[in-house]
């Protein structure tokens, strides 16, 4: 369980969007590096060093593949390093390849961590806020697919056991399988969709004022952080839409001050810092008696 995941799901959604959008809109080597390191550090916190290092080794190869493949296909650039089969391998293309590989790998780590903390119940919580009916519909659908799978397996096994498929004709075999599939579909649909109807017929939930209990509350802290993130996004998107790093034919000069890197770095490392702070606090609060 991660402390960062205790934030409101909407905030988490906004946060990951801000990180990825900032990275891709700037395409700046330092910002991409910050996002990559931040993503990997948080991934380590979520999964522990042992499991995470396996993934890091794997993604290192992905990184290498992109970083090597890119400059061998793009030959634009002011400074040729050497010539490969009569095509220039340039410093600019190598740099861009590294940045591109970093951005792709960073996105992979962030989305992996994100889906780790953004669980089904959070999706439902967000949807219920939008509309209670939508929440119910989605939860029904969510229930339907795994239920159908289990039922299908059960029936397959049972029918196979009593020799349902022991026929020579393939067409007949397929027909029987289809019949079974249809039956399973009807039965599952009944379980998932008809039951609520029955409950409704009994007068369940017919009163207009239906209340719902919300586990996740959008607190003041969440609100402030969300507004901060949105402002951050608007400011930097405005900036980078004018000053996106250009790689061809020469890498464009960077006019961003050191202070901006600190702010962006803080954003990228925020989950890691928060997580570390919480674990220190947890240790501190444990009774020594």
């Amino acid at each position: 369980m991660s402390a960062f995941s205790n934030f409101h799901p909407i905030l988490l959604l906004v946060y990951v969007t801000v990180v990825v959008v900032t990275m891709f809109s700037s395409f700046h080597p330092i910002i991409v590096a910050l996002a990559l390191i931040g993503g990997i550090l948080y991934f380590f916190i979520l999964h522990g060093i042992r499991t995470a290092s396996k993934d890091v080794v794997y993604y290192f190869f992905v990184f290498l593949l992109i970083a090597v493949a890119y400059p061998s296909y793009v030959h634009n650039g002011f400074t040729p390093l050497f010539f490969l089969n009569d095509h220039a391998v340039t410093l600019e293309a190598v740099t861009k390849g590294l940045v591109l590989a970093g951005a792709v790998v960073a996105t992979c780590f962030w989305t992996k961590s994100y889906f780790e903390i953004f669980t089904t119940n959070k999706v439902l919580a967000v949807l219920t806020r939008v509309s209670a009916n939508l929440g119910i519909l989605v939860s029904m659908l969510w229930r339907f697919i795994p239920l159908f799978k289990t039922k299908w397996h059960e029936k397959q096994m049972a029918q196979r056991g009593i020799g349902y498929y022991k026929v020579n004709s393939r067409v007949e075999k397929f027909r029987r399988a289809f019949a079974l599939w249809r039956q399973t579909l009807v039965q599952t649909a009944e379980l998932v969709f008809v039951k609520p109807d029955v409950m409704k017929a009994r007068g369940y939930g017919m009163t207009k004022a239906r209340t719902q209990y919300r586990v996740m509350r959008f607190t003041k802290r969440d609100g402030i952080l969300t507004i901060g993130l949105v402002l951050f996004l608007l400011y930097y998107i405005g900036y980078f839409s004018q000053h996106q790093t250009q790689y061809y034919p020469e890498i464009s000069e960077q006019t961003l001050g050191a202070g901006h890197y600190v702010i962006i770095g803080l954003l990228m490392f925020y989950p890691f810092i928060y997580e570390a702070k919480e674990s220190v606090k947890w240790r501190y609060l444990q009774s020594k008696i």
Binding site: F61, L65, F82, F83, L84, D86, Y248, S252
Partner: protein, 184 residues
């Protein structure tokens, strides 16, 4: 499983890349080209590379490239070169640009359906850099051949010109509107 497959794909890529004949040259080695001396009885052709059209369409040019556009539109002034037997227009371009250290990027003949080399960029000016209809075209003796640049065999006295266009050739002198094919 998915990860194993990717690792295998990676190794295959590297091995395939090394096996299919990689030639690594240093910058000096690459630009070291031999240009034949012009003698009285040698067959010659001329080559010219121009990008005038960009100057009229600076608003369409990709931002950041303004510095690299030649102010007079002349990348290579009309120069005479010795014609070696079997030379195509591309061979001439390759030899001359190497000699003058003008960077050229092209797509090899195996990589497109026309079985011809396709010139993507000369002197940091690439296709699509000046609007979606821009690119490099070539002209021999004032006409735009409807053949690929590495399929056009040159004759003695041919005048080859490479032009950058911002409008599939309609902004160039001598472009025939009827022929749909864009040269090079």
């Amino acid at each position: 499983m998915k990860k194993d497959l990717l690792v295998v794909a990676f190794i295959l890529f590297i091995v395939g890349w090394l096996v299919t004949g990689t030639k690594i040259q240093s910058v000096e080695e690459y630009y070291l080209t031999h240009i034949d001396e012009i003698t009285e009885d040698s067959e010659t052709v001329t080559l010219e590379i121009r990008s005038d059209t960009v100057l009229d369409a600076m608003d369409k040019l990709k931002p950041g490239l303004e510095k690299y556009v030649e102010p007079d539109g002349e990348i290579l002034k009309k120069t005479e070169y010795v014609l070696r037997s079997g030379d195509t227009a591309f061979d001439l371009l390759d030899r001359a640009t190497r000699h003058h250290r003008i960077p050229v990027e092209y797509q090899g003949a195996d990589y497109n359906i026309y079985n011809s080399i396709y010139v993507q960029g000369i002197n940091y000016l690439y296709e699509f850099n000046c609007g979606p209809l821009s690119g490099w075209m070539y002209k021999v003796n004032g006409e735009f051949p409807s053949r690929g640049v590495s399929q056009y065999e040159l004759q003695d006295g041919d005048e080859v010109e490479f032009h950058y266009t911002c409008d599939v050739g309609r902004d160039l002198v001598g472009y025939i509107r009827q022929s749909k094919k864009v040269g090079n």
